[in-house]
Symmetry: C2
Subunit: 348 residues, 2 copies
């Protein structure tokens, strides 16, 4: 029915391959037409697949190698028979529209860039993810693919973030913010100011909110937050860390006395909803944007439910035409540069 396949690295992740197969089974229930192409150790994966009637149509192909979490990228590049590599190859060949892996992030990023390749017109792919905010889910990028970024990169991230918010969050006109610091005098370096100018002169101008600050991420001031990979990585992990700290402290509070345990029972439905709402598994699936195919990275430590969410993200991107949206956007940005040129200033 869906007419496309998703390639799955069955061996990536701390609890693979069982977690992956169980996660796929959950996803298969939500996407009955989905067609999965698994790559992994046949002896280990086949018996797991046999447990799930919903995965009866999933194809399994043997992969004799596994890229570990500690495998260096250079070594990973040479492992032609690794499950991750074969899954990526399937996308490069056009056999699958996207790939999902909970394995080594650095290897997935590097292999995807080399094998699947960057979309024509995109200078550098970026890592994006969805997170919670006071005003609903938001998209942030880059989360670590590019430690330093120039003006052109930031403009491309804004473009990709826009299309991602449309295709995965279903927004019709997502607002876009450029992450910066607060004080008047230190506001932005040259690159950020140029990127803001370029966005104000682009077709994204009506959606561009201007600069936002760290606290605007959780406040949900804009639907898309654009930043370089260093800042984005730190901001993501700082926010996650703060949420985790409060979670620990709340657990202590509710375990402190009999009265507080009773309090927990009384407030349980609301607390459970809050917990579910902030559940990292619900936001599992960082996405490599800007490649000739959909690449979704699941957290290595996630469980089956989390992996199923990562599959959902890949599914949304393929069915809602993420890469077609990028191509359209690039064509419009491209025309803009012919007129203005500034956005291209420090692109290599």
């Amino acid at each position: 029915m869906s007419g496309f396949s998703l390639a799955v690295d069955a061996m990536g992740g701390d609890a693979a391959p069982r977690m992956v197969v169980d996660g796929l089974a959950i996803a298969a229930e939500r996407h009955p037409g989905a067609s999965f192409l698994l790559f992994g150790d046949e002896k280990r994966v086949a018996p797991l697949l046999a447990h799930h009637r919903r995965l009866a149509t999933a194809q399994l192909r043997h992969a004799s190698e596994v890229i570990g979490n500690d495998t260096k990228v250079a070594a990973a590049m040479r492992m032609r028979q690794a499950s991750m590599r074969l899954a990526i190859d399937a996308v490069a060949r056009g056999e699958a529209a996207g790939v999902i892996s909970a394995g080594n992030s650095g290897a997935l990023l590097a292999l995807s860039k080399v094998v699947i390749k960057t979309l024509p017109g995109i200078d550098r792919p970026a890592m994006a993810a969805i997170g919670p905010s006071a005003r609903g889910d938001i998209v942030m990028l880059d989360l670590g693919a590019n430690v330093t970024c120039d003006t052109r990169n930031l403009v491309e991230f804004a473009l990709m973030g826009d299309v991602f918010a449309r295709t995965v969050l279903g927004l019709t006109s997502p607002t876009i913010g450029l992450l910066n610091v607060g004080s008047e005098d230190v506001k932005g370096d040259e690159t950020l100011r140029e990127a803001a100018e370029a966005l104000r002169a682009s077709h994204l101008a009506p959606q561009f909110h201007g600069f936002v600050e760290g606290h605007d991420i959780a406040a949900g001031t804009t639907d898309v937050v654009v930043t370089d990979g260093f800042t984005g990585n730190v901001a993501l992990k700082t926010g996650e860390g703060a949420l985790r700290l409060v979670g620990q402290l709340l657990r202590q509070v509710f375990n402190a006395s009999i009265a507080s345990r009773l309090a927990y029972l009384l407030a349980r439905p609301g607390l459970a909803r809050l917990r579910e709402w902030l559940d990292p598994r619900r936001y599992n699936g960082a996405v490599m944007l800007g490649l000739n195919g959909v690449v979704v990275k699941s957290h290595g430590g996630t469980d089956a439910e989390g992996f199923a969410h990562a599959v959902d993200v890949a599914m949304d991107m393929v069915t809602h035409g993420f890469n077609e949206g990028i191509r359209d956007g690039l064509a419009r940005i491209g025309r803009l540069e012919t007129r203005h040129g500034s956005a291209d200033a420090d692109a290599s």
Copy 2:
């Protein structure tokens, strides 16, 4: 008894001068020997002072101008009779050991640098603050004074953060982490790698933990987190924003039903402690480190309790010899560079 004065900008802050005077009264109770030198509009401040017996010995000097939150730094520099300026002048003259202001951050930073001047041997002052973590209070710097930093700056920040953690948190051997991103392959740019090398070769080596990531801030992996002002500003505000979001959501949970209101009452002591522990007022007082005097910036929107905390920080820094500690540290770092040179590579 204490033998030094603190200069206070009575007109800085959203609720000034009342908030400032009330805050000083709270601080005066905690520091009975303290001597305060207030600068502000005599007609407005004198009647407020008269309300507080504890401030009977505080001196008030008239200032005919006030630097507003929207005043541009260039304009602020010319306002010689502004309350903030006169308070800073008192430090430069040696009449006061430190200054506290809840006014315009950019103006305070710029005026302090120009008037009080940087400590000999310090290339660039940094903004530091204390925050909560799972393992106790931690220090983070720079929080926005320097958008871009070189290796030498980061090494100096580590040195100043170490002395700050000793003098204000009372730690005897604080651990130090350099904020970086996670993935092996993108780990750090050249500046960060060089700073790590320089720290490993310095007298701070036994305390240097190496690179830390965003989630290590709230986890309290190290007592001091060192980063450039752009990243630090974003991380601080992102963490604050995440905590605020959870606070809002918890309020909704406890207001959702009669049962959940009852739950709140039952868990109240623990929740109140948690709230107090995370209370931004408790962490009020960002500090400009690396100047010839103590400069503490209070949040503009704080209340009297928060302002009193900012006074506490200034008091700790003066009484525990913060600047003497910096001078000692610089002497040791200085010798190191004569041998290695690398830490000085891109210092201007």
